[in-house]
């Protein structure tokens, strides 16, 4: 680090430094002071910590752009790279300065918040834990965002690259949900929480930070060790890439198009593939003319992305060919996914992963035959939510077999199409942990064929099966299955 250069950065950015100090203190402390006395003990401290880290995270995006923008302009690169400060010193000093601002203010805010709201309510160890993790969060995000910003050769491309990689896990998660619900019967992602969170250091870091500032009983949030390890890996990777792209930077590329493989070439195709996979999943379940419009629209976006990349509108056979090839491959992959029942995921559920399995059934049926679905007016609703132990010694094997057979038929129906009846209900299966408060392995089906009345009678041996009917005045009448069947028989 070069102390003289650091001194210059501080003196040159005095106004910015004072402005952010005011922002931190106003945002984090002022509103909490107004709520003091009315909120729960320690609330002000936790609230200030969350607000302070939010501002620090914003700075982790803004400061690399602000402080490293000189590498993206020829005239500024001429000035800064000719300074008697080595590139290594410039890189380290600038990152240290950015860290001092983002973390320094966070630290000041946290100490002030603890003195004002935390003493006696929040243990000092908890504060230290929060501050240490915040330091890790800030240095990781600063390095990661600097890495993305330096991959580009101009300011606009640097911001686009940062935004694209930051948003990609979010877009990817949404696409994953759509694809899974389209091609996997039951619709639960193959990996709990999705895979895209692992591509997002900011998401992993925020989740772990939340664990350090969660109030007991208010928010259940556990510190996630794999997230910590992966975040550390991102930090190391970022340092290595930043070192290479700054210390050995070809400054003659300043202001030119960003042709690093990880900038536009990757971003454009990554986003295109994600959307093409979503389109492909719709193509296999319900092909229609509106999809052609969507494919053409995406092609236009693809060309526009290429225009942004090259700064000139050029549509060539290679570009169209690449897009078409990607579209065909994505559609093909989704077709295989459909034919293999979600690559096997539709039937890849566990029946023993947790202590209890819960089956929830809700079906709109005919009043005169609870085993016949209907969308008509004279209907009834059959519902149950029955939990069964999964240990195999609870005497519920018959019930579980009945449920699993029904689930299996629902899966077949999903892939083969509904043969008869109408889709008027739902069947949900999930597992709970020991205290029943947390559920996972959740699957949701829309079968069209209800349980027969005989099956419902069998089910009612293991839990309440309820029947709801509504009279002409929309007044609800609620029965247990046996009561309903007896009443219906008596009315006949």
């Amino acid at each position: 680090m070069n102390k003289k250069y650091l001194n210059y950065l501080i003196r040159n950015r005095k106004v910015l430094i004072l402005f952010f100090l005011a922002v931190y203190l106003c945002v984090c402390l002022t509103w909490n002071l107004s709520a003091a006395g009315t909120a729960a003990p320690g609330y002000g401290y936790y609230s200030a910590a969350k607000a302070a880290i939010a501002i620090s995270i914003v700075l982790c995006y803004a400061l690399p752009v602000l402080l490293f923008s000189y590498v993206h302009q020829r005239s500024s690169a001429d000035l800064y790279f000719a300074l008697p400060v080595s590139r290594k010193e410039q890189r380290i000093t600038t990152l240290v300065f950015a860290f001092k601002i983002s973390f320094g203010y966070f630290l000041i805010t946290m100490i002030a918040a603890w003195l004002l709201f935390g003493i006696g309510n929040v243990p000092a160890g908890r504060v230290l834990e929060c501050i240490c993790f915040a330091a890790f969060l800030i240095i990781t995000l600063l390095s990661f965002n600097t890495m993305l910003y330096l991959l580009a050769n101009n300011l606009l491309d640097g911001i686009v690259t940062m935004a694209a990689y930051t948003m990609f896990p979010v877009v990817g998660s949404m696409a994953e949900s759509i694809i899974v619900s389209n091609i996997v019967a039951g619709g639960t992602p193959a990996v709990k929480d999705g895979v895209f969170v692992f591509l997002s250091p900011v998401l992993m870091l925020i989740r772990n930070f939340a664990a350090t500032v969660s109030m007991n009983g208010w928010l259940f949030q556990q510190f996630n060790i794999p997230y910590l390890i992966l975040s550390a890996a991102y930090l190391v990777l970022s340092w290595l890439v930043v070192r290479k792209h700054f210390d050995e930077r070809q400054s003659e590329r300043a202001g030119q198009i960003s042709d690093h493989p990880l900038t536009y070439p990757t971003i454009i195709n990554l986003y295109a593939v994600i959307f093409l996979l979503v389109f492909g999943s719709y193509l296999v379940i319900e092909p229609g003319p509106e999809l052609i419009v969507m494919y053409i629209f995406l092609l236009v976006c693809y060309v526009a992305g290429s225009f942004l990349y090259r700064r000139k509108l050029k549509v060539d056979a290679k570009m169209i060919g690449t897009y078409v090839l990607e579209a065909v491959l994505c559609a093909g992959l989704m077709f295989i996914g459909w034919k293999t029942q979600g690559f096997g995921a539709a039937r890849g559920y566990s029946l023993t992963a947790s202590k209890q399995i819960v089956y929830q059934y809700n079906m709109q049926v005919e009043r005169e035959n609870l085993g016949q679905s209907t969308a008509g007016a004279q209907n009834a609703y059959v519902m149950f939510s029955i939990a069964a132990d999964t240990d195999g010694n609870s005497g519920n094997e018959e019930f579980r077999k009945l449920m699993e057979d029904y689930r299996s038929k629902a899966i077949d129906e999903f892939y083969e199409g509904q043969k008869d009846g109408v889709m008027t209900g739902s069947f949900q299966v999930y597992m709970t942990n020991d205290n029943g408060s947390h559920y996972e392995n959740s699957y949701f089906y829309n079968p069209s064929v209800p349980f027969t009345e005989e099956e419902l009678k069998q089910i009612s041996k293991y839990g309440d099966v309820e029947v709801y009917v509504y009279d002409e005045n929309f007044e609800e009448e609620h029965y247990l299955l046996d009561d309903y069947l007896k009443k219906r028989e008596s009315l006949r």
Binding site: R11, R74, P84, E252
Partner: protein, 290 residues
């Protein structure tokens, strides 16, 4: 003092400088000339340590200007495009120079007065010429041993140019400053440079003392009793040859006596010898190579 050996630099697949060699002594003012795109700015940026050489070396006082950041405290690079951050003044720009260079605030004050610049005014409001003056002032106030001017001299108005020449002469005399000026304005370079180099095809194709070189290249106007052709003067190093009937105008490289003796073999009626300007020298050198 400055020693460039086998310097190579390419932009992508396009080679800009190829096996370039150059040596510059203390206290010299070197004019770097070449057509647009010849690589003059690239060479200056390489010397300043802004660009990394692909091959070869640039040593200033025995130190690599790209790798050894400390030596760059002795080098001032005045780019053709002055940089300033939005909203800054010369006073605020001074912070950077004060922090990392051996900056002379008294000299800064003097030069600001001499070049009629108000350091407290926003630079964005400066004219092009004022920005040029600003860059030169910052370049000089760090007391460099080597000053690199990339067309910075071109934008100066006549009065500022005169002042600059005087200051430069003082600094050369007092501090043994060396200067490399890349410029298109060859007439101006002629007044200020003592040596020159022509950058062509990625190399310094012509290099030497300006006065000495100019003395060796002359324009000859001669009239002969019969019509003559260029082939008849194959013993001369002719850079340019024009004839109209029996009157010939040619630019020849070589000692005047030698050329005169060669011309005398063809019984000239009249021979006039005219000196060439630096601009003419540059044009004839390039033309002679096609």
């Amino acid at each position: 003092m400055l020693k460039i050996e086998h310097l190579e630099k390419s932009f992508g697949s396009h080679p800009v400088l190829k096996d370039l060699n150059l040596e510059l002594q203390k206290g010299s003012v070197f004019g770097l000339v070449g057509v647009n795109g010849a690589g003059k700015s690239t060479l200056l940026r390489l010397i300043a340590g802004v660009y990394q050489p692909d091959g070869g070396s640039i040593q200033f006082e025995g130190k690599d200007t790209f790798r050894d950041a400390d030596i760059r405290a002795s080098i001032s690079f005045v780019s053709d495009e002055p940089y300033y951050e939005p909203g800054t003044t010369m006073e605020s720009m001074k912070l950077l120079y004060e922090s990392v260079y051996p900056f002379d605030p008294a000299l800064f004050k003097n030069y600001c007065e001499e070049f009629e610049l108000d350091p407290s005014k926003p630079i964005a409001g400066f004219s092009k010429g004022m920005k040029r003056r600003m860059s030169i002032i910052f370049g000089l106030c760090t007391h460099p041993k080597l000053l690199l001017l990339d067309e910075a001299y071109d934008g100066l108005e006549p009065l500022a140019r005169l002042k600059f020449k005087r200051i430069l002469a003082e600094r050369i005399e007092e501090e043994n400053l060396s200067v490399i000026i890349a410029s298109h304005s060859l007439r101006e370079l002629e007044d200020i440079c003592d040596s020159f180099g022509i950058l062509e095809n990625g190399q310094i194709s012509e290099y030497g003392d300006l006065i000495e070189t100019k003395g060796k290249v002359n324009k000859y106007q001669a009239a002969f009793s019969e019509e003559v052709t260029k082939d008849q003067f194959s013993g001369l190093d002719i850079l340019s040859f024009q004839s109209e009937g029996r009157v010939v105008q040619m630019v020849v490289r070589g000692e005047e006596e030698t050329v005169r003796a060669e011309l005398a073999k063809h019984d000239p009626v009249l021979v006039d010898v005219l000196p060439v300007t630096f601009e003419e020298l540059f044009i004839y050198e390039l033309e002679s190579r096609g």
